[in-house]
Symmetry: C2
Subunit: 431 residues, 2 copies
C-alpha cells in the first residue's frame, strides 16, 4: 500500500493528540484513504519535557531541517503556534513542495496573505480546519459546503477559554479572577491567558472566517476589540435579572457596502441559542442568502477535538496530493460589493449601562439630561438597593445609539460629581 | 473555458431553486470551479404547470432519454423524489457513466445499497447533501470533516414540517389540525403531509445519517417510528408546565454492541438547545469520540436552501470529475463492534404519561398499584383541575423504565373502569 509521510512540527498538546489519533485510527484511515499515513519525524525545540505519549527516539528531532529537508515527507503539520518561527517553517515547507496543514490562527490572521499567495504559486491549498472551533467542521463547511452562497453575517462565540470564564462567573457566582483560576486549573486556560481574555484569539478566528466568507484578509488593527477582563460579577448578575447572558462575541456583518467587524462582550437574551452555550464550547452563526441561518456548535478547545480537525485536513491533503495535477485549489472569492470597513464610531447598538452614583436627589435627572442631549433614549432603568458601599448602581438599557454619541455622553456623565466610578457599558446584540 | 454539462430531473420546487442559483451565481461558480456549468436539459413529465422560473423550450423535455442518452451530459441531478422512476433513472445515469447528485432521501434510505454499490462499481461517489437538513452541510461534515472519529450517537430534529407544527401548537396554542393547516398555508407542508407527520421522512434521514456514521444501511421496517399526529395541545401545555417542549426526534445510539434506533415525539427540557429549535428549522447532534458533541442547526426546508446543498454537491462532483482516475471515492466504514439492532421492547426511557380518569377516590391508588406491579417508579404526579368534561387528567413523570414493562402496565391500566381514554405516553429523552 502506498505510504504518505508526515512531518509534525510542535510536540505539544495538540501534537500529542494528533500522534495518538494517527496511532489508534491507523486502520480506519487506511480504509478511508487507501494509503498509509506514516509519521516520519516530529520536531520540537524542547525534547526534554515529559509528554503523555512516547515516541521512538529516532522520530524526534530538534533540528527543523530534518523535517523540511527530508524529500520523502509529503505533508507538514504545523502545530507550533505563534508567528515566528512558525511562519518561516510553513513558507519553507511550501517552497520545498510540501503540503501544509496548520492550526495556527494567529499566523493565518496576521500573515495569511503571504502564506496563501505562496501556496497558490505552488498550486496548493493550505488546510486549517483546526484553527477555528477546534473539531467543528466550520472551515470545510464555509469553503466547500456553501459553494454558491453569499454571506450577510457571521458571528459567534469563538474562544472557549473566555466562554468558560463567563459561564463559571454566571453559574458559580464567582468573580473574574476566581473563574480564570478555575479555567487554568482545569487546563482550559494557559498560564498566560492574555490572548484569550483580551479577545485577540477571537479576533484571529474572526479574520479567518471573514476571509472565507468575504474573500478579504482584514488587518488586525482595523478591528475594534474589547475583552472580558473588565466584566464584573455584578454586571453578570444584573444582566441575568434583565433576562440576558453576557458572552464574548466576534461579529462580522455587511451593512450596505461596508463591512462591520467587532469583538466584544455582549448581552444576549436568555432564550437565544447562543445564551445556552456553556463552558469551553463555541458556537458560530452563519447567515447566507441561499442557505439561511446556520449554527455550528461544539467544543472550542481540547487536544483531541483539535486533532480530529487536523486529521480531517490530512485526509483532504492526501486526496489532493493523490489527484496530482488535478488537485483542487481553494480560492476565496472577494465580495466586491464591500468597499470599506465601517469605523466603530459609526456603528449602532443597544446598550446595558451601569453607573455607580451617590444616592441623592437629582442624580437620575442629571444622567438622563446628558443622555437626552446626545439624543440617547432610555428603554429601562433600575436603581439597585444600596449596599454597604457609598455608591449605588443605576442600571439602564438604552435604545439603539450611535457608538460615537454614546462615548461622548459617557465622558460627560463621568465628569459629573455624583458619579463614583467609570460607567460600565456593554453592547446588547440584536440577534 | 471548459464546460460541464448538467441534466436536471424534476422541474419542481427544488429544481426551480437549482436553476435559479445556476443562473444567478454563474460567475461565482466559474471562479470557484474553473469551468462553466451548463444546464443542458431539464426533464419533467409535466411541462404544462406554471413555474416561477422560465426556461427556453429546447432545454425542456418530457423524454427521459434526452437526458440519459445524451453523452455530453456529465452530471445528472435527480430531484424527482420518491422511489420510482427515480431509482431507475439514477441507475441508468450511473450505468451511462454519469455523476449523480440527488436530494432523494426516500430512495437512498430504502434502495441505497443497490445505488451505492452500482456507483462503487463505476468508481464514483453519490452526492446527496440536500437529502438531510436541506442546506446544512451535515453530510459533508460526517463524510469528510470527522475523518478519524468514531460515533456514539447522532440524533435530532430532522423534519421541518413536524417541527413547524409542534412549534405552532406550542406558540399559538392551536391544536394539531389547525397547526397543520397553517403549515400547508405557508408552504411548509405538502397537501399530503403523511410522510412528514408520521415520522417516515425523519426515519429516511436517520437511516442516511446512520449509514454515514456506522456504515450500515438499516432496513426501514426494523426501526420503531411514531409520528406527531396524535400529539394534543393539552400535552404540549402540560409538558411546558413541567418545563419541557415536545419535539419529534430521530435517535441513533450505540449501546454496547447494539445500535438503538427510534423516531418519536420526545419531551426535551426547556433549557436544552434542541428545545429552542423553532419553525421549520432542523438541528442535528453528533456525538463522536474525538471531536466531542457537535450541533448543526439551520432551516430544514426551503427550495433555495436545498438548492444551496445541491450546488455544493455539484462543486464536489466537478472536482472529482476533473480529477479523473484520481477522484476520491467515499467509503462508509462499517462499525463492526455493532452486532445487532436493539429491539424497542428492550430500550429504557423516562416517560410523561397522561391518564384521563373519573374523579373519584381510589383512582390514583389503582393506577399506581399497577405501575408498582411492573416495577415502574413514579417521579412526579399532578392531578389537573376538573374541566367541563367528566374525565380528569392525571399527569405523571415516571423514572426510567423498560419499554416492554411500560407497554404491559399501560394495557392493564387502560382496562381499569376508571380510565376514560387510552393513556398518552411520551418519552423524555436524557440529553
Amino acid at each position: 500500500m502506498k505510504k504518505i509521510y508526515l512531518g509534525l512540527l510542535g510536540f505539544g498538546n495538540v501534537g500529542s493528540g494528533v500522534i495518538k489519533v494517527l496511532k489508534t485510527r491507523g486502520a480506519l484511515l487506511r480504509k478511508k484513504l487507501g494509503c498509509d499515513l506514516v509519521l516520519k519525524k516530529v520536531f520540537d525545540k524542547d525534547l526534554r519535557s515529559k509528554r503523555e505519549i512516547s515516541l521512538p527516539r529516532e522520530k524526534l528531532t530538534s533540528d527543523i531541517n530534518q523535517v523540511l529537508n527530508d524529500p520523502s515527507i509529503d505533508i507538514v503539520i504545523e502545530l507550533i503556534g505563534g508567528l515566528h518561527p512558525a511562519k518561516e517553517y510553513v513558507m519553507q515547507a511550501l517552497n520545498k513542495g510540501k503540503y501544509v496543514v496548520t492550526a495556527n490562527k494567529a499566523l493565518l490572521a496576521e500573515q495569511g496573505k503571504e502564506i496563501f499567495d505562496l501556496a497558490k504559486q505552488h498550486g496548493k491549498t493550505i488546510y486549517f480546519e483546526a484553527s477555528v472551533g477546534a473539531g467543528i467542521p466550520i472551515i470545510k463547511s464555509l469553503r466547500e459546503g456553501l459553494a454558491a452562497d453569499r454571506f450577510r453575517r457571521i458571528f459567534g462565540i469563538l474562544n472557549g477559554t473566555s466562554n468558560f470564564i463567563l459561564s463559571a462567573m454566571s453559574e458559580s457566582q464567582v468573580d473574574f479572577s476566581q473563574a480564570l483560576a478555575q479555567a487554568q486549573k482545569n487546563g482550559f486556560a494557559e498560564r498566560n491567558a492574555s490572548l484569550d481574555i483580551r479577545g485577540i484569539d477571537s479576533l484571529h478566528k474572526l479574520i479567518i472566517l471573514v476571509y472565507l466568507c468575504f474573500g478579504k484578509l482584514v488587518n488586525l488593527n482595523d478591528v475594534f476589540v474589547d475583552g472580558i477582563e473588565h466584566i464584573s460579577l455584578l454586571d453578570i448578575i444584573y444582566a441575568r435579572e434583565l433576562g440576558y447572558q453576557i458572552k464574548l462575541l466576534a461579529i462580522a456583518q455587511k451593512e450596505g457596502f461596508e463591512l462591520e467587524l467587532r469583538v466584544h462582550p455582549t448581552l444576549i437574551p436568555q432564550g437565544h441559542l447562543l445564551a445556552q452555550v456553556r463552558g469551553i464550547n463555541n458556537a458560530i452563526y452563519v447567515s447566507a442568502d441561499l442557505v439561511g441561518d446556520l449554527l455550528f456548535f461544539g467544543p472550542g478547545a481540547g487536544k483531541v477535538a483539535a486533532a480530529s480537525a487536523v486529521v480531517s485536513d490530512l485526509q483532504d491533503a492526501v486526496l489532493d496530493l493523490q489527484s496530482g495535477l488535478f488537485r483542487r485549489k481553494f480560492t476565496a472569492i472577494e465580495d466586491k460589493s464591500i468597499k470599506r470597513l465601517r469605523s466603530i464610531d459609526q456603528t449602532y447598538c443597544r446598550y446595558y449601562i451601569r453607573f455607580m452614583v451617590i444616592d441623592k436627589p437629582g442624580v437620575l435627572a442629571a444622567i438622563s439630561g446628558v443622555l437626552a442631549k446626545f439624543d440617547i433614549s432610555i428603554a429601562s432603568v433600575t436603581q439597585k438597593e444600596r449596599k454597604r458601599s457609598k455608591a449605588v448602581p443605576i442600571v439602564m438599557i438604552i435604545h439603539e445609539v450611535k457608538e460615537k454619541n454614546l462615548r461622548q455622553a459617557l465622558i460627560k456623565i463621568e465628569s459629573l460629581k455624583v458619579i463614583k466610578e467609570s460607567p460600565v457599558a456593554i453592547r446588547i446584540e440584536q440577534i
